[in-house]
């Protein structure tokens, strides 16, 4: 088990991304999962996808093995609403190469869309 990259992680470290979903994105998502309905707002899996994108691409980054995600959805995000997703390391368990992170998505004026927690394995 190579922990060089794990050892570079620090509790409190965070990563963010900004994203605005369009009505076309939502139509594409409905088509992808064969859902013949108009969807009001942004589907929750696209919000969840922002966290998985951050975890896999940024923090911890490539090589991340996504084990768990828990989410509470406070209000539906609107299409064309500027969203900011963030992940923040809350706990590092070196003996098991596990990383716990808090995950938050906010919308216009900082309103809370979704919050939750992720658990990933990060070893090489």
């Amino acid at each position: 088990m190579n922990l060089d990259r794990f050892d570079a992680l620090k509790e409190g470290q965070s990563a963010k991304l900004n994203r605005t979903f369009t009505a076309e994105d939502v139509r594409e998502w409905c088509e992808l999962c064969q859902l013949d309905q108009d969807w009001p707002g942004v589907p929750e899996p696209l919000i969840a996808g922002l966290f998985s994108c951050l975890l896999g691409e940024d923090l911890p980054g490539h090589g991340t093995n996504y084990l768990k995600q828990a989410m509470t959805f406070h209000t539906a995000a609107d299409t064309s609403e500027a969203l900011q997703a963030s992940v923040t390391i809350s706990r590092l368990r070196r003996d098991k190469a596990l990383v716990n992170l808090t995950t938050v998505c906010t919308g216009r004026d900082g309103r809370l869309i979704c919050d939750g927690e992720a658990l990933v394995l990060f070893q090489h």
Binding site: L17, R19, D25, E28, W29, C30, L32, C33, Q34, L35, Q37, W39, P43, E44, P45, L46, A48, G49, L50, S52, C53, G56, E57, H62, Y66, L67, K68, Q69, A70, M71, T72, F73
Partner: protein
């Protein structure tokens, strides 16, 4: 199992094209999902589905079964990877119903019996839909 209350279930198959489309939608272009040559050199041996693409299939079935419902919370675990071309079985079991709230257990299983997704969610269903 005979006592399980299963309001809905669905068999489905994902393709590399589905992985590519979800990568474009989510911005997650990690090679383990979209690059077959890279993935062949990893321990997985081939590309694997985004976990949130599996969640998308779950969410879609929930929306079809309980139109107009609201997803309040969702937990997800991804014990084993899901591959393109496999027939995957999604089963939704009802754990609890209280007023207009439903607690459901969701499971996606591979042909070899390994679990790709397991989760629990809480839905608020419109009054007339509540049992």
């Amino acid at each position: 199992m005979s006592d399980a209350n299963i309001p809905c279930e669905q068999n489905f198959m994902l393709t590399q094209e589905d992985f590519d489309r979800f990568a474009r939608l989510s911005g997650d272009h990690n090679p383990i999902h979209v690059d077959p040559e890279f993935s062949a050199r990893t321990s997985f041996g081939r590309t694997v589905s985004h976990g949130m693409l599996l969640f998308s299939v779950v969410r879609s079935l929930l929306a079809q079964t309980w139109p107009g419902s609201t997803l309040n919370r969702q937990s997800l675990m991804f014990p084993s990877p899901a591959y393109a071309g496999d027939t995957l079985a999604l089963v939704v079991e009802q754990q609890k119903a209280e007023g207009d709230r439903l607690v459901l257990k969701t499971t996606i299983t591979r042909p070899d019996g390994e679990t790709c997704l397991t989760g629990e969610c809480e839905l608020t269903v419109p009054e007339k839909e509540a049992s």
